[in-house]
């Protein structure tokens, strides 16, 4: 694939190396003269020195033949503008923008940006999830963190311990997927009893994860 990367720093450097090793053809646009020079020495890619919001610079970078453009600058207005220009002026089919302000995600997608990388929400959900204790494991996130699947070990002093599922006060959006007891899995029903040491597989929205961990794991 013909890919244009816009931006600088270590992120671009490592991303470029990785993509090149997978056989993609890369062009990097950087507006800092020194960084552009360094990148061109260190990486086997075409490096264009200039401001990618300028149509001529995109032209120089071969935007008309690119399959994919990825704008990773720190400014949302530049990322949006570069992606829109690539799509509207040069017919680039896929454009991905880094979104620094999470509120912009919806707007960017309404405007037709095909890939959105919402760094703030992503990092914040990873932080929230890593705060959870050792009793929580096997975290998987679906759709960039919009749904999580995880496992909690039932603690003897938790609210849920010794109760039947239907007696436990849980938000409706939390779904229990399985109970693991001594290596055997049962599918939980309303009458299933939860014991200390059981591992409960839970599917929930990231914002309700903490609530689920509290009910089964015991601690705050």
């Amino acid at each position: 694939m013909d890919i244009i990367l816009v931006g600088g720093g270590k992120l671009i450097y490592h991303l470029a190396k990785k993509l090149i090793s997978k056989g993609h053809f890369l062009t990097i646009i950087n507006k800092d003269r020194k960084q552009a020079a360094d990148l061109s020495r260190e990486i086997n890619a075409t490096v264009v020195y200039g401001n990618a919001t300028d149509k001529k610079v995109l032209d120089d970078a071969g935007a008309y033949k690119a399959d994919n453009l990825v704008a990773l600058t720190q400014k949302d207005h530049n990322n949006l503008f570069i992606c829109k220009m690539a799509m509207d002026y040069f017919g680039v089919e896929r454009a991905t923008a880094l979104v620094n302000n999470p509120e912009n995600e919806e707007l960017f997608s309404t405007l037709g940006i095909t890939g959105i990388f919402n760094i703030t929400d992503l990092i914040s959900s990873i932080i929230e999830q890593s705060v959870a204790s050792d009793d929580v494991s096997n975290l998987t996130m679906i759709e960039e963190g919009k749904l999580s699947i995880f496992q909690v070990e039932v603690s003897p002093d938790s609210e849920a311990c010794g109760k039947e599922i239907k007696e436990i006060d849980l938000p409706l959006t939390i779904v229990l997927g399985g109970i693991v007891r001594n290596g055997d899995i049962t599918i939980p029903r309303g009458g299933s009893k939860v014991q200390a040491g059981d591992k409960i597989v839970i599917i929930s929205l990231p914002e309700e994860q903490a609530e689920a961990i509290k009910v089964f794991g015991g601690e705050e």
């Binding site: 919001t53 300028d54 149509k55 001529k56 400014k75 949302d76 207005h77 530049n78 949006l80 503008f81 829109k84 220009m85 509207d88 002026y89 302000n101 509120e103 912009n104 707007l107 309404t110 405007l111």
Partner: protein, 137 residues
């Protein structure tokens, strides 16, 4: 009319002053507080200091009830983002945008409710018209 003006540089402040004088209700949003000094002494509207590319700042300026939003910062990229925020996030009925680089004009093609004013194209057109009119004499 209730008009929100984004950017209080030479263009924004001139517009704000004249429109306020002719009786419109004006809110000016500008991130650099020193720029408010460009407003004329008889300006009777509101000033909001902040980054217009944030929904909260636009809300503070009551943009959702604006009849018209004029976007006139000196940065084409910010102007584009704010124009789309005004249109899609706040459903503003009419948006006027200043564009600097004539190459960006095409970005606004088929963009309903958004009108662009390209400073370079307008200047060139004015001069050309004048030259051609005089050439006919």
């Amino acid at each position: 009319m209730f008009i929100v003006i984004v950017g209080c540089g030479r263009t924004g402040s001139l517009l704000a002053g004249s429109l306020s004088r002719s009786g419109h209700e004006i809110v000016v949003i500008e991130h650099n507080p020193e720029s408010f000094a460009l407003l004329p002494v008889d300006f009777s509207g509101f000033q909001i200091e902040g980054d217009a590319a944030e929904n909260d700042i636009l809300k503070e300026g009551k943009i959702e009830s604006a009849d018209l939003v004029i976007i006139s910062t000196g940065n084409d990229q910010i102007n584009y983002l704010v124009s789309q925020m005004a249109k899609l996030n706040f459903d503003v009925p009419r948006i006027m945008v200043r564009t600097i680089d004539p190459a960006v004009e095409k970005m606004y093609e088929n963009d309903e409710r958004v009108e662009i004013f390209s400073q370079i194209s307008l200047l060139a057109e004015n001069m050309i018209n004048k030259i051609e009119r005089e050439g006919m004499r």
